[in-house]
Symmetry: C2
DNA sequence: TACTTTGTTCCGCATTGCGGAATATAGTTC
DNA sequence: GAACTATATTCCGCAATGCGGAACAAAGTA
């Protein structure tokens, strides 16, 4: 193995290495990639060839990978999809939020997403786009950083002091030298949320994308923090419109989704 | 998987048991279930308590499970969602099909789904419902049987002789004593598809649901067989309408999605 | 306080997975 | 067709890794 400093993690009698490695193989597939060879998997995971071979063999037998008949390359199997849909099914908030979000997106011709924090990321649980024909909601399951997005900042600002400290630690590790700068920016965003109730990210995460974000009050603490954003192209939305029109509407959407607030 | 030629499964030096067990734990979560205790997981997977404990520990560390802070129960983690979205992202056919399907659903006020065969099931890759406010597309990732659904029958009927034989073996194992009956029904459906180009299931899979299905010509052989269905409530669609209106429109939708046919 | 239920940790054992090397398979080049 | 390259699979001895019963903890019940 690459680096086991003998101390630290190697002590962990409870950690099942083989399982972790198998999942490492699965997560080596990036969205949009169709099929990967054993060799590529070995490179990406840093595992020896023979080990990868055994893991892909096992995963294929279980339906989590499927092997392209002629190229012999592996693609993610449909069993993985079943797991993913089980996750989505377990968040009943989606059932409530989705129709309201759809109405919102149509009414304001803007995209709106529901996200949940995972470490120093926001994971999208649901997305509604304004134009029906633009891209399938790829974005369910995708991650955006807590620090540089409107939705992330809104979420961060709603964390309890203790949760925030944990998130800070995560991000300090993630951003390294840049962390002080990032933190300053985050603190500034937090102040804005405290004052106005929403956060902004105007072109900071993606050039030419204007976004505002709000947090949903978490129904039960420790259940994970939910948040919303609304985002549109800069040519259609200026900062003023976002602040005076979109942000208040988004706050109202949040109240609709979680009435007890 | 089911039967290895010589000595059962225990001989398999390549199969990584620990990985399989870990995934067994993940797949013990059924859609809609929020959180499971270690005990329940042990029951469902048939694994000893201590083993489950180690596996949940590992999965939690990796983000594939998350532990509810107060109950201590486990829920599927957001890392699983990332895997699922990677699967969806790898099927570019969705990007093509989704907008067309949406138009279709709106125009005919009927639900339409895109599915792919996995063994003796069809897995939904995309679903568009007519009424915007009815239920989030839960159905992406969910499974319906090949044998009793319109979409399944359409898919079955488009299989090559060799693929069909493999599917037959799968289903023979699945249906046991009932297989001859099921097979007769399937053969009948296949004849209909050969003649008219589409399959039917009128109330057979779900009471009061009328459905027709068509197969998409698979772009490359061995890439998996894709298929479409259109389904609506029996009070709104009678058999005649399904045959004379919906089925032809669905065939046209299929041609739109895969022009080379 | 005793009792029941569920989760975690311990620890010796041998099974299981490891990974380098050898072997198979496929695709190129001359 | 032979020689070569690149990649996947299989072998096999070794020991690390995961196993699981049993002891231990924790939390809820009577």
């Amino acid at each position: 193995m690459s680096f086991t400093p003998q101390e630290d993690e190697s002590k962990d009698r409870l950690f099942v290495e083989a399982l972790a490695r198998g999942l490492r193989v699965l997560s080596a597939f990036r969205p949009g990639e169709s099929a990967l060879s054993n060799q590529v998997l070995a490179q990406r995971t840093g595992l020896p060839k023979s080990t990868v071979s055994r893991l892909t063999y096992t995963l294929t037998k279980l339906g989590y990978l499927s092997q392209d008949t002629d190229s012999g390359y592996y693609r993610l199997g449909l069993a993985v999809l079943a797991l993913g849909s089980a996750v989505l099914g377990s968040y009943d908030i989606r059932r409530v939020a989705a129709p309201l979000m759809r109405d919102f997106a149509l009414k304001h011709t803007i995209s709106v997403s529901l996200g949940m924090r995972d470490g120093s990321d926001i994971v999208y649980l649901e997305t509604c786009r304004s134009q029906a024909r633009v891209s399938v909601q790829l974005s369910v399951g995708s991650r955006v950083p807590l620090a540089s997005t409107a939705i992330g900042r809104a979420c961060y600002s709603s964390l309890s002091a203790t949760e925030r400290e944990l998130a800070d630690i995560d991000m300090a590790a993630r951003y390294g030298k840049d962390w002080p700068l990032v933190q300053a920016k985050l603190e500034q965003a937090r102040q804005q949320v405290l004052q106005r109730g929403y956060s902004e990210s105007f072109g900071e995460f993606e050039r030419d994308v204007m976004a505002v974000g709000v947090a949903l009050p978490s129904p039960a603490p420790g259940q994970g923090s939910l948040c919303l954003n609304a985002s549109g192209p800069a040519f259609a939305f200026d900062a003023d419109t976002m602040r005076s029109q979109v942000a208040p509407a988004l706050l109202q959407l949040a109240r609709q989704i979680v009435p007890g607030a």
